[in-house]
């Protein structure tokens, strides 16, 4: 099938090495600095607060949003993370997940809103999201390292690429799902587009948007191991060490830690979505 030569590999490398990195490195250094500061801040905070206090806060949150059962599970889960001596790693992972999720929401929700209101934006955004979700992770890990170096920052960027699409898609869906007659009624009484958005469309889309945020968090957690491959600290790192030293026990201990955090965050965000 080699009818004509497509030097995609060469072009990409020339583009990345010859143009992208030199011209944009200043910008990326800046972004990199901000994100690093953000991650460090959150991590330091989570590690500085005594585990007991975080546990109490999490249990209360779980109780308020998701009920007694989840609160009990959260308590047991926190005890587990402490007893296998993985508390600091757990907090590191939690920090990266929180930061990635926050960035995903900050970009994802507004883009979702825009694409729900404007079909041109929608047509541009859809294929980009498909691309973000189907492109093998390792393909963008490499440029992420080139642009942002090793550590938490490229991990957050890669996680963002992988985890942001549900936030965009579910926001879009949530807004489009608002019944036509309700939108029509609001316009008939003289709402401006802004009033329509904030008084009708967003409030009615919140449960769907929260379902998107929940998915984003889950995807971000599922990236924990991959993130550690490019130098992010945390439970992913524990699992990787377990794999590379053929220490099945260590791998399992770390892996279970990720599962525990996943279940706690999942139940809490689901509960929150129903409450709002």
């Amino acid at each position: 099938m080699n009818y004509f030569q497509l030097p995609l590999e060469e072009w990409t490398n020339t583009f990345v090495d010859g143009w992208l990195i030199p011209t944009t490195s200043g910008l990326f250094d800046q972004i990199s600095e901000w994100i690093a500061a953000f991650i460090n801040g959150v991590t330091d905070l989570l590690i500085m607060i005594p585990p007991e206090i975080i546990t109490i806060l999490l249990v209360l949150l779980a109780w308020k949003t998701a009920g007694k059962g989840v609160a009990v599970f959260t308590l047991i889960g926190c005890f587990y993370l402490g007893s296998v001596a993985l508390w600091p790693e757990s907090m590191q992972t939690l920090a990266i997940v929180l930061v990635s999720t926050l960035i995903s929401v900050i970009f994802g929700v507004p883009i979702g809103i825009l694409s729900a209101m404007n079909s041109v934006v929608d047509r541009i955004v859809k294929p980009i999201l498909d691309f973000m979700q189907t492109l093998p992770i390792f393909v963008y890990l490499i440029p992420a390292i080139l642009l942002f170096g090793l550590g938490g920052v490229p991990a957050v960027i890669a996680t963002f690429v992988f985890a942001a699409p549900p936030a965009v898609r579910m926001t879009n869906l949530g807004i489009k799902q608002v019944p036509e007659e309700v939108v029509e009624a609001s316009r008939a009484f003289g709402s401006t587009p802004k009033q329509l958005l904030f008084k009708v469309q967003l409030p009615l889309a919140i449960p769907t948007i929260m379902a998107g945020v929940n998915q984003t968090i889950m995807l971000a957690l599922s990236m924990a191991v991959v993130a550690s491959m490019i130098g992010a600290p945390g439970l992913g790192d524990t699992v990787l060490t377990g794999i590379s030293t053929v220490n099945v026990g260590l791998g399992l201990t770390g892996g279970l830690g990720i599962v525990v955090i996943a279940i706690i965050l999942d139940r809490i965000t689901q509960g929150l979505g129903k409450k709002l």
Binding site: P179, E184, A185, S186, R187, G190, L204
Partner: protein, 400 residues
């Protein structure tokens, strides 16, 4: 001045509406345009006007363009061509901000599927229009509570729409439209989703509210009974065009074409025609401010030998004849003592059939009274002529 004026209003749905418009102007029909171009004609060069305080009903089968037409009035749908003029202002040429202002101040709308905000309670729904205008929370809730009383929903302020029955939800819809105190109510099949008893109740309520608040109402329905009951005038639509405009009597008596006759053919005239359909707004005398001189003048004006008398709240008091008015003038007696109460009164929904007997043996018009309030009068002639003309038509139909 007319309240609403609609001139050659047209809507073509599709990628090239202007092309569709040209075909319409060349006299092509809705189905031809659909077959040739794939575009749907929603409304085809509709023209009509609505008087202040009038209930104007638009009637037609499903797909005839009623919903599109009413949404062109407040530009929820952008017209392809033509104009809508409200209080002398051209809605179709307005910029966005003035349009929003007009919707807020002048146009209330009630929807078939209610269109309530499901995440807000009844009070917040009813106050929504004022909230959009940034009226303070206290004032808007006060006004919303007042309209809730008007529609009989006090006590339900904190309920969520989903907890209410259909009829109650539509009362909320009606209250929401009234809270802005607009001059015009646009009602798109507002009662069609309700069961028959609630529906009749809501119709009566609307008539009462309209009588009290004197709104101009544009009411859409596919139901002839509803149209006859509510409409001062009725427009009948077919394939986006208005095929006839007239009063209930005119439409029943002279259907413009087969389509309209189809609509009205099953109507048993004497049954369907109710007192409210043939009654006329009378010139009245008000006890508090008018004396015998005024009475004589008014009777002269309309060339009648008697006049109906009401109090300040339109409550029916009785009938004053010209002879009694003159006597009252000469002997300086208050007119309230001269009133005759041997006048026949009837409810608005009385079938004409039941009035035939009365019409035959009274020499005064019949007063149509609802809960003490005088709504209109019916002359003997209008009952008898309506029925006789109807019978003749039926006979023709039977022999041919």
């Amino acid at each position: 001045m007319k309240k609403i004026e609609v001139n050659k209003l047209t809507k073509v749905f599709g990628p090239h509406p202007k092309q569709g418009l040209k075909l319409l102007k060349d006299g092509k029909k809705k189905d031809e345009i659909l077959a040739d171009t794939g575009m749907t004609v929603g409304v085809n060069q509709a023209s009509f006007s609505v008087e202040p305080g009038e209930i104007f009903v638009i009637m037609g089968l499903s797909g005839s363009g009623k919903s599109t037409l009413i949404r062109l009035i407040n530009r929820l749908i952008e017209p392809t061509d033509g104009e809508v003029i409200i209080d002398g202002e051209n809605i179709t040429k307005m910029d966005k901000q003035s349009l929003i202002e007009t919707r807020r101040k002048k146009l209330g709308m009630v929807f078939q599927k209610f269109g309530l905000l499901p995440h807000r309670n009844v009070l917040q729904n009813v106050a929504y229009g004022l909230e959009l205008q940034n009226v303070s929370k206290q004032e808007r809730e006060e006004r919303a509570k007042k309209t809730l009383i008007d529609v009989g929903l006090q006590g339900y302020e904190d309920s969520m729409p989903s907890q209410l029955s259909g009829g109650m939800q539509q009362r909320v819809g009606l209250a929401r439209a009234l809270t802005n105190d607009p001059d015009i109510l646009l009602m798109d099949e507002a009662f069609s989703a309700l069961d028959p008893i609630i529906r009749t109740e809501m119709q009566d309520e609307l008539l009462k509210l309209q009588h009290r608040l004197n709104k101009t109402v544009l009411f859409i329905t596919h139901d002839l009974d509803e149209a006859l009951k509510l409409g001062d005038r009725i427009a009948i639509m077919k394939d986006g065009q208005i095929v006839q405009i007239g009063t209930a009597e005119q439409i029943l008596e002279n259907p413009a074409n087969d389509y309209v006759s189809q609509f009205v053919k099953d109507v048993d005239r004497s049954k369907i025609l109710e007192a409210s359909h043939v009654m006329k707004k009378p010139k009245v005398l008000t006890t508090d401010k008018d004396g015998p001189n005024m009475a004589i003048r008014k009777m002269e004006e309309v060339g009648a030998s008697s006049i109906f008398v009401v109090d300040r709240d339109d409550n029916f008091q009785g009938l004053l004849t010209i002879d009694d008015a003159i006597r009252s003038h000469k002997e300086h007696l208050p007119i309230t003592e001269m009133l005759r109460d041997d006048v026949h009164t009837t409810a608005p929904n009385t079938p004409l059939d039941d009035l035939i007997g009365i019409a035959a043996d009274t020499k005064y018009p019949i007063a149509v009274v609802e809960e003490g309030v005088l709504c209109g009068i019916i002359s003997r002639v209008s009952i008898l002529s309506g029925l006789v003309l109807g019978k003749e038509k039926d006979n023709e139909g039977a022999t041919s």
